[in-house]
């Protein structure tokens, strides 16, 4: 079925940038919606705890909120194994080199950012504990303009 032979130019130190792996996150794609961006890694315990909550967010606010997660595992396999165990109902962007994390100034994990409809940062949240879901829901409701 395959005769094309990729030639291996082994051990070359020069790199060619045509296949750069830099991850991109374009918030403009979600214009009109709130965006919840969450940075995580497979080996981070609190991230594991935050996944069911983010799946709930998708269910509860599906039309008004986009949940986007950025995986920071260096090895894609680790992220895949994690997602096999705890499936995500939201999109996952892979940022193995940490370019996006640097851009966002990620301080720890998980680290989440809430943007309003116009793409303005409303709040950032470090870590994930059992009392966080309530706090984050309130923030989302406030940003949506739903009065409490």
């Amino acid at each position: 079925m395959k005769l094309t032979l990729p030639r291996i130019l082994a051990f070359l130190l020069f790199s060619v940038s045509i296949c750069s792996q830099a991850a991109e996150l374009d918030l403009a794609r979600y214009k009109g919606k709130l965006v919840y961006v969450d940075f995580w890694a497979s080996w981070c315990g609190p991230c594991r705890a935050s996944f069911p909550f983010m799946n709930d967010l998708v269910k509860e606010y599906g039309n008004e909120l986009a949940v986007v997660s950025v995986n920071l595992d260096e090895e894609r396999q680790d992220a895949d194994d994690f997602l096999k165990e705890i499936p995500a109902d939201f999109s996952v962007i892979y940022d193995p080199e940490g370019g996006l994390a640097k851009q966002y100034g990620v301080r720890g994990m998980p680290n989440s950012f809430l943007f309003d409809r116009s793409g303005k940062l409303v709040s950032r949240h470090d870590g994930f504990t059992v009392k966080d879901p309530q706090h984050i829901r309130e923030l989302i409701d406030n940003t949506l303009g739903k009065s409490q």
């Binding site: 395959k2 094309t4 990729p6 051990f11």
Partner: protein
């Protein structure tokens, strides 16, 4: 087909050792990031032995293996070993994931379609007639028993080479932590990046009007599906060699070549194959999969 010569050639280059041999009708090689000559000898033999073992066991050109036994079972159940069962499970999964487009039993179409660049297009009738002998849904597969209808055949050609790469890599990793790249006729896998470079560089040859690419591979599998030289042309219509097992007819508008990177070589190979089977939708299919890929149209 004459028996291939089973010899391994060892070459030293400035960065390490290369072991080269032929298996599965392809040039095969093992690149090792080490100066240790005894290590490359040991590993080269292990890798080649595994390639030859899988070739012997799953080649459809032999009459002394499990594939021959299955293809000549005349409707009787054949009990298969663990390894074959694993491959059959995998193929069944692939059949379901591809909605029936990836089919282990589609090999018989080769009798009809000879992609030699000629204008030798078979008739619709002949293709449709052959489809009676194709279809995994007609196969009874219940570990460890496989029952094929008489006239049907299976062919591991679509995954055998990729599987051999992954198997060889597993054996190799038990012996060394040195970075190695296993390349069986263009299906390859890197165990880890070389010591002196962030990644291996793999060149993908230009086909048709496509562009050649230089791929940076840290670790994992890389496989290519498609080929510039295997097609038929009649009345200015190009018939690529990717066949739809449901119609017996080529999948038109498929890309010329698809290269995919994935954690294992079998995964890379299957995603590349699926992309070809998606035909004109190859680009969007690959975009959905979130894998690194290179398409040439």
């Amino acid at each position: 087909m004459s028996a291939p010569t089973r010899e391994i050639e060892f070459k030293k280059n400035s960065n390490g050792w290369v072991a080269q041999f032929r298996a599965m009708a392809s040039p095969c090689e093992l690149l090792l990031d080490s100066d240790d000559e005894s290590l490359i000898q040991e590993l080269g033999n292990i890798v080649a032995a595994e390639a030859w073992r899988i070739e012997t066991k799953f080649s459809r050109y032999r009459d002394d293996n499990i594939v021959y036994q299955i293809n000549n079972s005349q409707g009787k159940a054949v009990s298969v070993d663990e390894e074959t069962a694993g491959l059959l499970d995998f193929a069944e999964n692939a059949y379901q994931l591809s909605d029936g487009l990836f089919d282990l039993s589609s090999g018989v179409l080769r009798k009809l379609w000879r992609f030699d660049g000629s204008a030798n297009i078979p008739t619709y009738e002949a293709a449709t007639a052959l489809c009676d002998n194709i279809g995994w849904h007609k196969v009874r597969w219940q570990r460890p028993l496989l029952t094929l209808q008489a006239g049907m055949e299976i062919d591991f050609g679509g995954i055998g080479k990729e599987y051999a790469v992954d198997r060889a890599a597993t054996l190799l990793k038990q012996k060394t932590d040195c970075a190695a790249l296993i390349n069986f006729g263009g299906d390859l896998l890197a165990t880890s990046p070389p010591r002196n470079a962030p990644h291996w560089l793999v060149g993908v040859e230009q086909v048709g009007g496509g562009q050649s690419a230089m791929i940076q591979l840290k670790r994992g599998g890389l496989a290519t599906s498609g080929d510039a030289n295997r097609y038929l042309i009649k009345d200015n219509i190009r018939y690529p060699h990717v066949l739809n097992p449901k119609t017996g007819w080529p999948i038109m508008n498929a890309p010329r070549s698809v290269t995919v990177a994935a954690p294992s070589c079998v995964e890379a190979g299957l995603i590349a194959t699926f992309a070809m089977l998606a035909g004109a939708d190859a680009d969007s299919f690959l975009a959905e999969q979130d894998v690194l890929h290179w398409i040439q149209h």
